[in-house]
Amino acid sequence: MNKHASISRRTFLAFNYLFLAAVAIACLFPLLNVLAISFSSSAAVSAGKVSLWPVDFNLKSYSFVLSKPEFGRAFLISLGRVAVGVPLNMLLTILIAYPLSKRSHEFRFRNAYAWYFVVTMLFSGGLIPWYMTIKMTGIIDTFWAMILPGAVPIFNVILLLNFFKSLPDEIDQAAQIDGASRWQTLWQIAVPLSAPAVATLTLFCIVTHWNSWFDGLILMNRPDNYPLQSYLQTVIVNRDLSLMAAQDILKWAEVSDRTSKAAQVFVAVLPVLFVYPFLQKYFAEGIVMGSVKG
């Protein structure tokens, strides 16, 4: 900050920081509320006493969640999904983005290929054809149904493509003069130089895989095979009571488990919370750099 900043400038900054801090707190508030609920007793929660600080602190809901086989199973499925899905996403993204970042005189039909991919981003077949395609390919109700249909994230391809384009041609040419093959240029020159973009896109993919729930719900035939977020959705979602049979409502009446729901939400957020700090430094940089052309 400049020492000689005018008073109006400083007032602006003060208010700006206050405002941004308020926004940040507003974002944190729901999470802290969930955290407080998860540590409170269910009686206190149902009496509406819990806001930001746990009442009757206890760890019961966490021991309940950790002893729940469904939760653990869904958690593992989600981890597996990230472990397999993200590398595949990134591999395909890089392999598609690199050739498409070359100009037409280097890569004939580049435009045709580019459109081939972009069209899928602009138009989609809709839910039913999507479902039927997956069903007829025979991967429905398997782990691969969550991996393969979204294996090529076109939006990421375009981001990375622009990033590759922004690398100076000269580097490429120098590598070729030194005898590097295309393959070597890609993996030893282009990808390392694009670390910020690659890191950012990896984060995108992790979050997408970790957070997606709809495909698990629709494509898996047994709740046992749901990834974590699909499972959570079934636990947390507000039911439409008009759709429930009377005996279900009756049963629902006996369940008062907001604390364990809160604990499950919180545990599910943790992995992504842990990943963010490690990738954050690339995050802002990567997005901006991809959009600026050299």
């Binding site: 149902s46 039927m132 079934t234 009571l241 049979a245 009756l250 369940v255």
Partner: protein
Amino acid sequence: MKGKKGIALLLSSFLVLSLAACSSGNSNNGGTTPEESAAGSNTPKDTASITPLGKYDPPIEVTAVRGITEGTKYSEGESIDNNVWSKAYESELGVKVKYLWTTPTAQYDQKLNIAIASDDLPDITPVSASQLKRLVEDDALEDLTSLYEKYGSELTKGIMSQDGGNAIKSATFDGKLYGLPNMTSGLGQTHVLWVRTDWLQKLGLPEPKTMDDVIKTAEAFVKQDPDGNNKADTYGLGINKDIFGFYAGMQGFFNGFHAYPNTWVKDASGKLGYGSVQPETKAALLKLQELYKQGLLDKEFGTKDATKVSEAANGGKLGLFYGFFWNAGWLQDGKNADPAMEWKPISIVSIDDQPAKAQVPFAINTYYVVKKGAKNPEAAVKVLNFDFEKLWGETAQPDVYSVNNNTAIFEYALLYGEAPRKNLDAYLNVVKALEAKDSSSLNTEEKGYYDNILAFRAGDHKLWGNEQMYGPAGSLSVIDGYSKNAQLVDDAYFGAPTQGMTDNNATLQKLQLEVFTRIIMGGSIDEFDQFVTQWNDLGGNTITGEVNAWQASQ
């Protein structure tokens, strides 16, 4: 030439044969006994499978899909594909049930819609009323009329018609039965008035007997500091943001004004009209507006759902609200936190000298349908017979098939239904047993309530809710009173959603909620008349026409 003649002869004999087959098919529908038709079309070995509970030999396989209620538990080693029910289906009925997919109930509708759209139905499917209608229109379902007649057991037919046949009618299109309704009770969805009697005592108030009493009670609960903390932090009458509903809804209040919102009622001329647009509803709204002005309703009710309102009740800030009989289950948390808390369910009260009648919604929202061309369409009826027999029949084994060790085993049954009077009967039996101090005549479920009530009376206040529902002064006694004194108004429309409803209901319901909320919060009451006009213009007229045409066809 000779060869050709031979072929012609052969062809004509085929024709004759096929004609004969047709006519024998017709006579079957006309009422030949099962044995005869079995002899005609099946091998004699199959005779047993013709009776309502006969076993298939060799066993058959039927495919199905289903939602599974949240929190369903299984015994060690069991699952939805392998449990007492599935084993019994296989060993006693010769039916092997194969679930193509299962999903939690909350997502079932969504997943099923995709399955319907991609023409991917199993043999037996539970569907909603609108899905039923859509499937019937698509001609995707087997006609169950004659199968139900032929295979339905006495018990099944008894339970299915306990509501006067409305349930069956609601699944009947052009005289053909296309779905087996999942029987349940609308009585369980009538309102009682829950009131905190320890507050009444403290303030020296009587139990509310009239609408004026209710309002006076609400006023006292707000102004006379019933929780004794010297702060004006209590609410009068509980109301949730949807205005209507199972907890802190206002149906009971409107019913006190002889208004029956969200249901179809017969007017003096015998025509059906929508309860929400009748003049009685206007009067009730006007009163609610008054209460709101006086501060007897939560100023911020528009943002609070049922769960939020229940926090106020459990936290000792609310002592009066309308709700379903099982709301005692939600109040249990409050009782646990503050054992001095006492609630009592009482009958809804009237604004004038006419007794208030509680509205009874049409409760059936699930139908079991059979895919057109299913190999054994009658299996659905037979499985239903079997389920009813094991649950409520003479050879019923409730501890094996219904509830045991707090495990809801009945959830595993493929088709399900409850006698509409089940809860009421349970209450009557439990009370009788309590009086006689003899529980030997109770079934397992009732015995559970009985034991819990005794335990509560012995001092375990964690079981208080049982006394409040099934005890002599419990909420079911209030509903039993409605039923005995003819204080019930049934929803007069119980057909599938009409085209007009499918097209416009979402809009109309939104409009209604907006206008009602505005009026309660102080808007001009003239808005109600505008609402009636708007309602009619936005599709209400069409729907009323369709509903009356439906009534004429009944």
